[in-house]
Symmetry: C2
């Protein structure tokens, strides 16, 4: 797992923000040459593929400033410092959708942009949902709950309303695992 | 697609780099309050799910400084200015693996980290592969070619050698589409 390792020679912190930091590292390549790596630090996140009793996938629509439009995604959120991913998954599911889950299981963890960011998303599947609240999103968080069939989710991937990697993965996974 | 739109009030450029830029925008939320959005600009990328005639998926192993380890991914690369994604997909496939493809088709495009980055990956499927060279990776690019069966790819997702969103999506997609 250290094949072609790049050792850090110098590291310069460019920016420390609310959610991300940016640093630029000078690294030594396997051939001895030096190059620069621009690296975004992110706390990591969780996302939840939640199935309702009537076999719909729970989604949220929200505006994504980076894309300058709103998209439909599975519920997700950033890890708090020292927070266990499973705890975070339950918290974010309830905050964004008002659902609690009887059964929560880890599906996959993956890096979103390994070329420039250390963000890892821990993906969980949630079943046995109960509506315990109307959802209590954080102040200044604007999301709208949508529950979609597998067929509607696939159409949304085609028309671009679903447009992010974790949700695209989730739709394929749900179809493979839950349509058997 | 503009639901909950956040209008930019001010935009500050923090960093302009080789691959990414960073800006911080002050935006107006739907309730009229202001907040900050930290936004990474990226040129976008392509990735290729390539199937060999003996039904293996073409992968490359490379070191990812952001993760401080090497991982196994489908071939991918950044878009050059004004480059069409399909042209880029053919170029990156040949550069990284030495393969050209008789048939190339668009699978899906998705944002990798919509919370903080505008990077979009255009994913293609390649079939009818011919080895035309040994691969001519760019100078100072270190990648190792690996060809894996669908079962080996799934094991690599379990043990974490495959660890990024585009490749995780690709493995599920290949199994769903090419194992029928």
């Amino acid at each position: 797992m250290k094949k072609f390792e790049e050792k850090t020679v110098r590291s310069e912190r460019i920016y420390e923000g609310k959610i991300i930091n940016l640093k630029v590292d000078d690294v030594t390549l396997p051939n001895g040459k030096e190059t620069k790596r621009e690296l975004v630090e992110h706390p990591g996140a969780v996302a939840v593929i939640a199935l309702t009793d009537d076999r719909r996938i729970v989604m949220v629509e929200q505006y994504r400033k980076a894309l300058e439009r709103s998209i439909v995604e599975i519920p997700a959120g950033k890890l708090e410092p020292d927070e266990k991913p499973e705890i975070c998954a339950r918290r974010e599911l309830e905050e964004e959708t008002g659902y609690t889950a009887e059964k929560l299981s880890h599906v996959q963890s993956f890096s979103t942009s390994p070329g420039f960011a250390d963000e890892v998303i821990h993906l969980y599947a949630a079943e046995g949902l109960s509506k315990t609240s109307e959802g209590a999103t954080e102040e200044d968080e604007f999301v709208e709950l949508i529950e979609v069939t597998f067929e509607e989710a696939e159409k949304m991937m085609e028309d671009g309303r679903i447009y992010d990697a974790k949700t695209a993965f989730a739709v394929l996974w749900a179809k493979a695992e839950w349509s058997k």
